[in-house]
Each structure stands twice: as structure tokens, then as C-alpha cells.
């Protein structure tokens, strides 16, 4: 019946016209119901323009008004540069939505499941159906509805106990006008402890669109940390939403590192649904040229005694633009909330622009909340001091950028990954 709705309504966007026939097929009945709903939502929603507060500084028309296509499997891909050295991981690689069996290890035991969604929908049916689609909001957000309605694939990660090595999920987009929709589901079971890395990469110079959605459930007393890396070409688009639900006494950390990428929008939403929860969201971005990096976060304190920390830092060069919008809700029941948020930016050129907006909505009265936002330039005295000792202007500024970024890099709990990120930023950095 829903297919009728889709067929009769006029597709207003070139994007959707070009995707016709690419709808996701249901893996099981509950999945099918989700797809139905998402189709309806997609039909009702519009691609946001300037009037939308949530998308005020980030234009979506270049995605909505352009055709993209689902690409075929690509077997030979070289992403070795993105594997942290001397780090043994449970690794899964998806290229354009296809599981790359050669470089992936599927694990299925009591402690750990790392498999594709399709496989998990069948083999861990009950768990899968309990969690999949539970927290991603397709009703209000068109990109999430798009991800759900059209072809998506990715990793199902279920963790029990303390993991011996990190799980590394790599999503690669390649091709000329490819749309790739990574979709992941992470379940950190009660009292589990795990580290994960998500790498979102594009290979080649095609104009691609990666529309990702990851649902993350951190159960009671669990501790999950995720390092996220984005590295894609200057013509491409990447929109990634992480929806997180945390239960009492759990700790969750997500560190987002934007290395390269023409148009990036990250939405990290955390719902703190219990007490004594800790949520840490950190991010680093160093756009150059005409790159645009938009980080939006929402942290919702629903219950008492929780702690959230946010530290996002940016170094903007040339004509690049950046956006940070951090929303923190403290609900009436959430007494003794501690919520700290900070966004600091350095502009290396006169033509770079940063839009930074902290938003705090506090409905409880016994809380400690703070937010800070700074956007400025390097202390010229510091630059001169270093130059007067013999460091070139480039070296001096590089050193100061590193010192500035260290605050966020220090949050990485996998040293080999930190080394990789530092190398990637080093390669990118150049003087204006």
C-alpha cells in the first residue's frame, strides 16, 4: 500500500528521482514496517533551507538538486593509509555499501558480534529487532528518512564483557556520482567495555554523497568509546548522524575528527536516560580552501546526577567555513546535572568564517552548566617569540596549531589512532 503513495506523489527533488528503484528491501517483517514509515516521512519532509534554524549555515540544495546513483561493488580498494599502525582490530570494511569480505573479519560469539546488518537481522533476530530503528528519528529529519528508505548497509556490533581489541568499521565511498548510505547498529551490553573506530572515507575524486546513520545503545554500566574519522575529497558531501541512548551508570565518548572533505555535517544526539551517566563529545576540524564543516550536537539530560562534557576545536584557513551548534537540554527531573561545553576556533585567514552557537535549555534548578565559545587568531606575540628563536613562520604556526589541537587529541584513548590522525593533519596543514 505504501508503494502506491510513493508512485503517485511527485518527486520534488532530483536526488529522489535519480534514486528511484533503489529502495531498501526488507530483511524481516519489523524492518519492513520501519521502511514503510520512513517512506511516508520522506515524502512529507523537505530538504531544509536557510529558514531552518537547524540547517541555517549549511546548504542542502546541492545534494537535493543533483542526481546520485548507487554504485556497484568495487573489489580493489587501497585504504591501507587509514589503518593505524601496529593496531590489531576486529575490522569490517564496506565499499559503497558492499561488505568487502577480503578485508573484513566476521565475528560471532557470545562476547562479540561483528557482522553485516543483513546477517544480524537473521542470525540475531531478536536483538536486532529490539534495537534497530528504535532511536533514529526519521519523522523530523530528512537525511535519516532518506537513509532508512533507500539502500543502506553497514555493521552490526554487539558487545558483551571487556573487549580485547578495538572494533574498526570502515565505510568507503568511491565512484563518480555515488550515493552511499552507511547504516550501523552498535549495542554495548550491560557492563561491557569497548573501544571502536569508525572511518568514513572517499576514494577518488568523484562527486559523491555519503549519508550515514548509526544507532548506538550503551546499556547499564557499560563503557563505550568511539573515535570517528572523516576523510573525503573536496567535491563530495558527507552527512552523518549518530543517535545515542545511554542507560544508568554508563559512559560514552565520541571523538569526531574531520581531516578533509568539501561539505560535512555531523549530528551527534545523546539521550541520557538514566542516572550517573557520563557523556563526552569531542571534535576537531581544520578546514582549508572552501571546505565546510558543520558539527551539531544535542545532549539531553533526562535524569539526575549525570555529567556531559563537550570540547570542539577548529582551525580554519583560506575561505573555509565552520559551524558548531551544541544544544544541551536539562529536563526538570535532572537535578545535580553537570554539563560543560566549549568551542574554540582559530582563524588563520581573514576570509575564514566560523558560526558558533551554544544552546542551553535548563529546566532543573540545582545544576552546574557552562558553555564557552571563542573565535580568534593566533597570539602574534607567541608567533614572534618562536620566530625570534629561529623557527620559520610556518613552523611556528604549525607548532601553535598542534598545541591548540592537543586538547582534543588528548581525548583519544588509542595511541596508534592518535598517531594516524596527527599524521593526516600534518600532511594537510600548510601556511596561508
Amino acid at each position: 500500500m505504501f508503494m502506491d503513495i510513493i508512485q503517485t506523489s511527485e518527486k520534488k527533488y532530483k536526488l529522489l528521482q535519480s534514486l528511484e528503484g533503489g529502495e531498501q528491501q526488507a530483511w524481516n517483517k519489523p524492518h519492513g514496517k520501519l521502511l514503510e514509515r520512513a517512506a511516508v516521512h520522506l515524502d512529507q519532509l523537505e530538504f531544509p533551507g536557510r529558514k531552518s534554524e537547524y540547517w541555517k549555515y549549511t546548504r542542502t540544495n546541492l545534494i537535493a538538486n543533483n542526481p546520485f546513483e548507487f554504485a556497484s561493488e568495487e573489489l580493489s580498494v587501497d585504504f591501507s593509509a587509514y589503518l593505524p599502525k601496529n593496531l590489531d582490530c576486529h575490522t569490517m570494511v564496506f565499499v559503497n555499501g558492499f561488505l568487502n569480505a577480503k578485508h573484513s573479519t566476521i565475528t560471532r560469539n557470545e562476547q562479540l558480534s561483528v557482522a553485516s546488518l543483513e546477517y544480524a537481522a537473521e542470525s540475531e533476530k531478536e536483538k536486532f529487532n529490539t534495537y534497530f530503528g528504535r532511536t533514529l528519528n526519521t519523522k523530523d529529519h530528512i537525511f535519516s528518512a532518506l537513509n532508512t528508505n533507500y539502500r543502506h548497509n553497514g555493521a552490526y556490533v554487539r558487545i558483551k564483557g571487556v573487549l580485547d581489541k578495538p572494533v574498526h568499521i570502515i565505510h568507503i565511498t568511491s565512484g563518480e556520482t555515488t550515493i552511499n548510505q552507511p547504516r550501523n547498529l552498535v549495542i554495548a551490553e550491560r557492563s561491557s567495555e569497548a573501544k571502536m573506530i569508525f572511518s568514513y572515507l572517499s576514494l577518488g575524486s568523484g562527486k559523491t554523497f555519503t549519508n550515514g546513520a548509526t544507532e548506538i545503545f550503551v546499556e547499564e554500566n557499560a563503557n563505550l568509546s568511539i573515535q570517528k574519522l572523516q576523510d573525503f575529497n573536496s567535491r563530495s558531501f558527507q552527512q552523518i548522524t549518530e543517535e545515542v541512548e545511554q542507560a544508568s551508570n554508563s559512559t560514552f565518548t565520541l571523538n569526531t575528527f574531520h581531516i578533509n572533505g568539501g561539505w560535512a555535517r555531523n549530528n551527534v544526539n545523546c539521550a541520557l536516560k538514566g542516572e550517573n551517566i557520563t557523556s563526552n563529545l569531542n571534535g576537531l576540524y581544520q578546514p582549508q580552501g572552501s571546505e565546510h564543516v558543520d558539527n551539531h550536537t544535542v545532549i539531553d539530560h533526562l535524569k539526575p546526577n549525570c555529567l556531559s562534557n563537550e570540547l570542539y576545536k577548529g582551525v580554519l584557513n583560506d575561505k573555509s567555513t565552520g559551524v558548531f551548534n551544541g544544544k544541551v537540554f536539562v529536563r526538570p527531573d535532572a537535578q545535580k546535572t553537570n554539563a560543560f561545553q566549549s568551542n574554540a576556533n582559530i582563524l588563520l585567514s581573514d576570509f575564514a568564517t566560523m558560526n558558533s552557537k551554544p544552546e542551553l535549555e535548563i529546566y532543573a534548578d540545582d545544576v552546574k552548566c557552562s558553555h564557552g565559545s571563542t573565535t580568534g587568531q593566533f597570539d602574534e606575540d607567541a608567533v614572534f617569540y618562536l620566530r625570534a628563536r629561529g623557527l620559520s613562520e610556518t613552523s611556528a604556526k604549525k607548532l601553535l596549531v598542534k598545541a591548540f589541537a592537543a586538547g582534543v587529541l588528548d581525548q583519544i584513548n588509542i595511541p596508534q589512532f592518535r598517531e594516524l590522525v596527527e599524521d593526516l593533519y600534518d600532511k594537510k596543514f600548510r601556511m596561508y
Binding site: 597570539d379 620566530r387 613552523s395
Partner: protein
Amino acid sequence: MLSIKNLSASIEGKEILKGINLEVNAGEVHAIMGPNGSGKSTLASVLAGKEDYEVTAGSVAFNGKDLLGMSPDARAHEGVFLAFQYPVEIPGVSNMNFLKAAINEKREAKGEEPISAKDFLQLVKEKAKLVELDKKLTNRSVNEGFSGGEKKRNEIFQMAVLDPILGILDETDSGLDIDALRVVANGVNQLRGKDKSFIVVTHYQRLLDYIVPDFVHVLFDGKIVKTGGKELALELEERGYDWIKAEQDSVSA
């Protein structure tokens, strides 16, 4: 070594240096004294290459080369070192890392090999002792959380490590108590040699009891108005700067 001819400089359109002439030969220590606003720090900053200042006339030759045409880092490679009056704090930049980078950039400029980790550690240990700089301060970020005295000692420590041939001390004694002063002065004296020169900019004579100069120049209203031996410093200490001002007024009258 250093030949300053008719140097004039201004900042934000205001002329501070109005024709400085100064010759510094290898092995000499020259003290520059003068009342506030005379241009002492400006002279030090212009020699180091601070871009806020605009040179409006004159020349500076350093070992025959045009110093004013060089960037601040090029001047450092040639062997110029400025010990700042107000050393800036640079959180996140380790004292050790940046010094090592400074040494290596100088070496690279000269076509030399970079310093080995072992040699560097040895060098740092040796020089830290010279200025009684606690080991834990060397491991910290540049000047972060340092007291005034520690900052000044860190300047001399860096000078000792980088081994320049011309050391310019910009009011290194300001804000120091007598003990810190002695340590700093001792550090400088250890670095003196027949191939090294120092320009010591100071407001008070006290430092010059410890770093005994070969020449004392009085800077007044952007010009060197008097030059003498170390006794001149003592005379200034006794009589203040008013008599200099009076002399200048009568000359222009």
C-alpha cells in the same frame, strides 16, 4: 660585528628611534640605559625583527650582512638572540620540543645534520644547571605557570642552549629580586667570550654591578646622547636622568 647607522623607527606612525648610531665589536658588552619612553625596548625589538615597528631610515649591518632585510628567524640563524622583557606564555608548546626545533632549523639553514636526541638532552641538562633552572620546568610548556624570575631564567637558559653571537637582553632585570638577578647575571657572564657580544638594555644600574659593561650608552628621546665607561652607569644611578634631560634641553636651546 654590529653596525647601526642612523637608525630611525616608528610604530603606528609615532617616531620612537630618531637616528641611532652604534658600533658593537666582537667580545664587547654594551649597556643601553635611559628613562622610560626613550626607545630602549624599541631598539631591542627592531634588532630582533618585530614587525610592529617600521624602520623609516638607516641601516643595520651584522657581520657585514643587512640585518633589517632578514626575517626574525633568519636573524636567529645568523646568531642574534633577544631575551624578552615580558616573555610570553605558550601553553601546549613544550619548552624542550620548541628548542630542539629551533636548533634543528638553524642547523638546516647552515646545511648541518640535526642534533641527536642524546646530544640534545645532554645540552639541556648542562645549560639548565647554568641558570639553576629546575628540570621540571624544562619539561613544561613554554613559560606556562612560571614566576617572573623563572621566566627570565628561562630566557637565559634558551640563550645558553641556542648559543648566539649577539645576545640582546631587554630589561632582563626588571621584576627580579637580588638572588634571581645574581643567577641571571651569572648565566650571562658564563656565556661571555671574545667572539660573543651583548647589548644589555636596562633601566637600573643594579644589573651592571654583575654584568660589567665595556660601554654604557644613554638613550634619550630616541637618540644615543651620551656614551661612557661603566662609571657612567654609576653616575646615572646617583644623579638620575634629569641632568641628561637638562643637558639635552640646553643643547637644543
